[in-house]
Structure formats: C-alpha cells, structure tokens
Symmetry: C2
Subunit: 124 residues, 2 copies
Amino acid sequence: MRYAYDCISMKKEKKYTLRVRLWVEETNGIFLGLGRVILLENIGKTGSITNAAKEMKMSYRQAWQFVEDMNKQANVPLVEKMLGGKNGGGARLTVAGESAVKSYFKLENKIRKFANKEATKLKF
Amino acid sequence: MRYAYDCISMKKEKKYTLRVRLWVEETNGIFLGLGRVILLENIGKTGSITNAAKEMKMSYRQAWQFVEDMNKQANVPLVEKMLGGKNGGGARLTVAGESAVKSYFKLENKIRKFANKEATKLKF
DNA sequence: AGTCGGTATTCATAATAAAACATACCGTTA
DNA sequence: TAACGGTATGTTTTATTATGAATACCGACT
C-alpha cells in the first residue's frame, strides 16, 4: 500500500526519446543527409527541382545548389536535368539517384532500430 | 596488365565516410547532445562552468544556459553549482551527471560501431 | 517568331544563432 | 570591509544561413 503522503515528494518521471541523424561526407563536405535525400525523393515524385522544393518549403535556390553539390560529389550524377522543351524542362533521378535514396533510408532504419533497442537500457 | 588508354575514362572513386549524431530529447526540447555532454565532461574536469566553457571555446553565456536547461530537464540535476566562497564558487557534476556522460558516450560508441559496420556494405 | 515553364545565376534582404560586452550578485578570506 | 573569482542575467554585435526577388537562358510547341 502507499500513503497519499508519498506523493508530496513524487516528481513525474520525464520522458526521453533518442534521436539519430546520419549523413555521408566526402572530402568536399556533406554528400548526403536527410534533407538532401528527401529532396531527391521529391524530385523523383514531382519531376522537377522547382516542385520538389515547393513540396518541402525549401527555396529553389537551395534545392538547386544541393542537387549541384550532390552531382559533383557522386561518382555518377544522382539527378539528370533537362533544359527547355515542352514543359520548360525538368529533372529526374538517375538509377544511381534512386539507389542512393533507397540505400540511405535502409541504412537509417537499420540504425534507428538498433539505436532504439539500445536506448531502452538507458536511464537518466 | 593495363593499357594507358584505360585511364582516359577512369574516374577516381570518391571516398565517403558515414557520420552519426545522436541526442536525447525531452518534451521541452533537447536534453543531451554531444556538445552538452562534452560541456559536462569539462565541468567535471575543471570544476567550473567558466573554465569548462573556455576549454571548448564556448561562451560562458551559452554554457551556463545549457547547464540550466539540462538541470531543468533531468529528473535529478546533473550539475551542482556553488555561489561565492573561497574561489568565487564553481560547479561540479552530480552522480547523475557523471552517469549521464558515461551513458551517452557508451551509447554513442555502440551505435557508431554498428553504423560503421553497416556502412561498409554501402556503395554510392 | 512568340509563349510557356523549368533551369541557371546574381544580388539584396531577412531570420536565426552565437558571441561579446557589461553588470550585479555571492560568500569566503585577508 | 574590501578584494577576488565564479555565478547570474540582460543587452548589443557579429556571423552564419536561408530566403526572396530579379533576370537570363533554353528548347518544344503553336
């Protein structure tokens, strides 16, 4: 049994959650991170950098730079861009791009799962 | 053998390294992250927030805020502060503080090791 | 040839975050 | 009680980063 009295000094236990973030670096800086991968995903979905950026409320400026940066740092470009033409142009993922997105998420999931398992042992 | 000719289309394979970062969140925001843990470690080493901050080129302002924040979010304060006195005061880690540092690094190592193992399977 | 819509690029501006500065407070010791 | 050195706190600059606006370019299509 427990007396109401006990509650006086009872502090609610806080709840903590473990967060993990991973990214891939190349000699010139960041190659792939969560934001970039989501951008890639959106390019695949929408067919253009412009719309991919809108999708995630990122400025076109930044989205374009990310794409440029990733393509330069990859062994094979991840995004193929088209200039002019019927709909003004657009962008799509290369095979390497598709694969990079999948690999990243796969790895992230695996690590996140592992981290959460390990985290249950923690007590702060 | 290999012909010089082969080199014309040879691109140097880029080298990638996987980076991992983890932090613990509470309802009010970040509770523990790498920077905060290193700060704790330095407080333990130097006996004051001031010197701990200097050690890592962090402004006292920020260091103090971090400490305040951590203490508020922890079930038990991680840092015990002393005001005035012989050397003007100081700060030291509580048992919970020591334990938090150890736990964090232990977890980080485990996850980093796992991540690196998984990363070897990656190809970009 | 002119329209359309996305890419490519520069420049100015806003939003955020971090550092620097300035002061008051605090308690032991000389 | 005056000095010292760290804590406590607000304010002001600086630095970093992201956004927005403006413009040129490109190529299929009508």
